[in-house]
Structures are given as C-alpha cells and as structure tokens.
C-alpha cells in the first residue's frame, strides 16, 4: 500500500514541479497590469494599466559609477 502511495507521490511531484517549471503560469504577460520581474539593475519607466503602457512622468536620477571593488576576486 505505502509502495503505491510513494510511487504516486514521486510521479505527482515530478509532474507538478516539471510542469510548473516549463509552463510558468504566473509569468508576466505583456499588457498585464504592473511590470515583469527582472534580474539586473533595471528601473521601469512606467507601468501597464488596462492593457496599455503608461509612461511615468519625471526623470529618474542617474546613479553614476557603481564599482564595488574587487569583491569577487578576494
């Protein structure tokens, strides 16, 4: 009995995890309200509202040179 349950759990975990990793149902779609998730130093100039992109007013400050020194080399 527990063997079938464990096999079932293993197959379910595999299908659920792989399915979510491949289809990514929560991923941002262009036109959705808000902005997508990113990696990197990114600042959005606006946001999507009601299916249209609305640019934000005003200029953003420029951070300048951000070198952090030899952090990874030490």
């Amino acid at each position: 009995m527990e063997r079938q349950l464990l096999l079932l759990l293993a197959v379910l975990a595999l299908l659920l995890g792989s399915g979510l990793a491949v289809t990514r149902p929560a991923l941002y779609r262009i036109g959705q309200d808000g902005t997508p998730r990113t990696t990197g130093a990114v600042a959005f100039r606006g946001r999507s509202v009601g299916g249209r992109w609305q640019p934000a007013a005003g200029q953003r400050g420029w951070g300048g040179f951000q070198g952090r020194g030899p952090g990874g080399a030490k």
């Binding site: 063997r3 293993a10 491949v22 262009i30 990113t38 992109w53 420029w62 070198g67 030899p70």
Partner: protein, 339 residues
C-alpha cells in the same frame, strides 16, 4: 559441509523500483533540452545619442518554456552606463520601457601581502515575459549616460549583445523537483527492499552470536554479520600487523540440532582510524533460501584475538531478516529441508 550455490530468482527479485530511479533524471533532461535549444542572437551598436533599433526578433507564446530577453552591454574597463530601452510589439506599439544601469571595474587588489587583478562588472539584464501575441518584436536602445569611473562623459559608442530564448524554463524549480523526486524514490526503495516479515538483531560482547527463530515463507532470509575489533588496553610487547581478512563461521541447525549449513568464509577486515584510535570492522551479508518454514538456530562466530593479541573482538552483531526481496539477482545458499 560445502553448501550449494544459487542465485535469487522469480518473486525473490523485484525489479520495477529500478525504473523509478529514472524519475529524478527527467527534470534534469528537461533542463538539458532547454539549455540546448538554439537562441536568437544579435549585436546592437550604439553610436552617439541617437536611439538604435534591434533587428526584429520573434517572441513565441507557447507552453514549452517561455521567452527570456537578455541584454549585456560590452563595457570597456572602468566605465558606467545607463541605457534607455523600449520594447515594441509587432504593431509598433511601445509595450515596455525601462532603464538599465551597468558598470565594469578593473584593478589590482592587495591584502596581507598578496595581490592580484580583478575584473568585476554588472551590465547584464534578464527579462522574462510572455508576449500578448506571438510575433516579431523590436528593442529600441538609447545610451543615456556613458562615463568613466570619475563620472566624466565618454564618447558615446557601445555594443550591446541581445539574446532571445523562446524556451527558457525555471531551472531552480527543476533542480528542486529532481531532488524531491530522488528523496521519494529513495523512500520507495526503503519500503520495497527494507521491508520483511521478521527482523531480529542481537549484539553480544563475545566471539559468537546465536539466534533461534521461526523462519521461512516467500522471499529470502538475509543474514548480516557486523563486528568490531579494537586494540586491547594492554597491547602485546610484539604486536603483529592486523590481517586483511578473517574467517567467519556461519552455522545453521534445525530444531533437532541437525546441521543444515556450516560455512567458513574469508571476509574482509576493514581498518579505520581517527585521532590515534584504531578499529577494524567486519560487515558481510548472506542470503539463504528455505524450502519450507522451520525453526532454525543461526550462529556466527569470529576468531578472537587476532595478530597475536594486538587486535581484540569488541562485539559481534547478528541481524536476521526473513522474507526479503532483492533489486537484482544475488548469490543465495539454498538450505535442504529440515527433518
């Protein structure tokens, strides 16, 4: 008595859990397939402050992975930049606008009399999204700022590598899935191959351990002998080196005392040491097949002392499991019918 030899067969070998070992590999294969899919690559050259457009690239709206746009500025050493990026859909409408900052620093580090070169940068961006509808999209890039480390403006000239992958997957989630599936398959193996009708364990501070119990039925009888040898408190004046093998005597007799099996086996004696302590371990297993249920006495004994008194038996443990199955064929000693 020289015992007959056989291998486990029929219902004694359960193979299907071996197929379950393939389950944790599946997410890894999906990850491998996703990273080997060809990507759309191009280089956008920015000259001056005029915006430059990329060549159109296809964003695909499917369920086999999702689009990922990667932008990496090829910065010279000790510079910083700010890019203004617009994403245009197939109809030419702006659907996303953002600024990307980046820098690169090169230099020499010194610490505790050591030194070396470093080259650090942060000039890459990954954008994961789905298009409203699949089609050719374009990026419009403008170099807003381009300065040296001191903040002085530099001549605006920069190359930006653009890579579009339409089938990216969540690699972290795939690795977690593989790990979770591997744990569940391991539990399945324990449930299949660690299961038995009866399990008895006896550990004694002697040179032999014996158990009498009712055994027999479907499956095999697994007999494991585990023993530990140590150095005596008072080592001999002339110690000899410990042997690499010892002779294990395994005897099985029935309820009337008739000997069904008497084997002398050369088994390995493994040496371990830690912090000046030395010990030796014997760990060996045998599989027996009974033709019908019976009351049996099993006895395992080991020589003591070894190496002229330099190694003494500390304890011996006899573990008997009745009704076990194996994942693959193993050597089996069939016992003749008692009585």
């Amino acid at each position: 008595m020289s015992p007959a030899r056989d291998i486990s067969r029929g219902a004694e070998v359960v193979r299907w859990p071996q197929l379950a070992l393939l389950l944790p590999l599946a997410p890894l294969l999906v990850l491998l397939a996703a990273v080997s899919v060809p990507r759309q690559r191009q280089l956008v050259v920015l000259e001056g402050e005029q915006p430059a457009s990329s060549r159109p690239f296809r964003l695909h709206d499917g369920w086999l992975g999702s689009p990922e746009i990667r932008l990496r500025a090829e910065l010279p050493p000790n510079t910083a930049m700010a890019l203004a990026v617009d994403l245009l859909d197939p109809a030419g409408q702006t659907v996303l606008q953002f600024d990307q900052e980046g820098w690169r620093e090169q230099g020499i580090w010194q610490e505790d009399g050591e030194s070396g070169r470093y080259d650090e940068s942060d000039a890459e961006l990954r954008l994961q999204l789905r298009p409203r509808q699949g089609g050719d999209h374009t990026l419009r890039l403008a170099l807003e700022e381009f300065t040296d480390a001191a903040g002085r403006p530099l001549p605006a000239s920069l190359r930006v590598a653009l890579v579009v992958d339409n089938h990216s997957v969540d690699g972290g989630l795939l690795l977690i899935t593989a790990a979770v599936t591997a744990v569940l398959v391991r539990l399945l193996w324990v449930a299949v191959y660690g299961d038995c009708r009866q399990r008895r364990r006896l550990r004694v501070d002697d040179d032999g351990a014996a158990l009498r119990l009712e055994l027999g039925g479907a499956g095999l009888v697994r007999v494991q002998v585990l023993a530990r040898y140590e150095e005596p408190d008072l080592p001999p004046v002339r110690p000899q080196p410990a042997p690499r093998q010892v002779e294990l005597e395994l005897a099985v007799s029935d309820a009337w005392g008739a000997v069904l099996l008497r084997e002398r086996l050369e088994v390995p004696l493994r040496h371990y040491s830690n912090d000046g302590d030395h010990w030796w371990v014997v760990n060996t297993s045998r599989y027996l097949r009974l033709s019908e249920p019976a009351s049996l006495r099993l006895r395992a004994s080991l020589p003591d002392p070894l190496a002229g008194g330099a190694v003494e038996l500390e304890w011996i443990q006899l573990l008997v499991e009745d009704g076990v199955v194996t994942a693959w064929p193993v050597a089996v000693t069939p016992l003749r019918s008692p009585g």
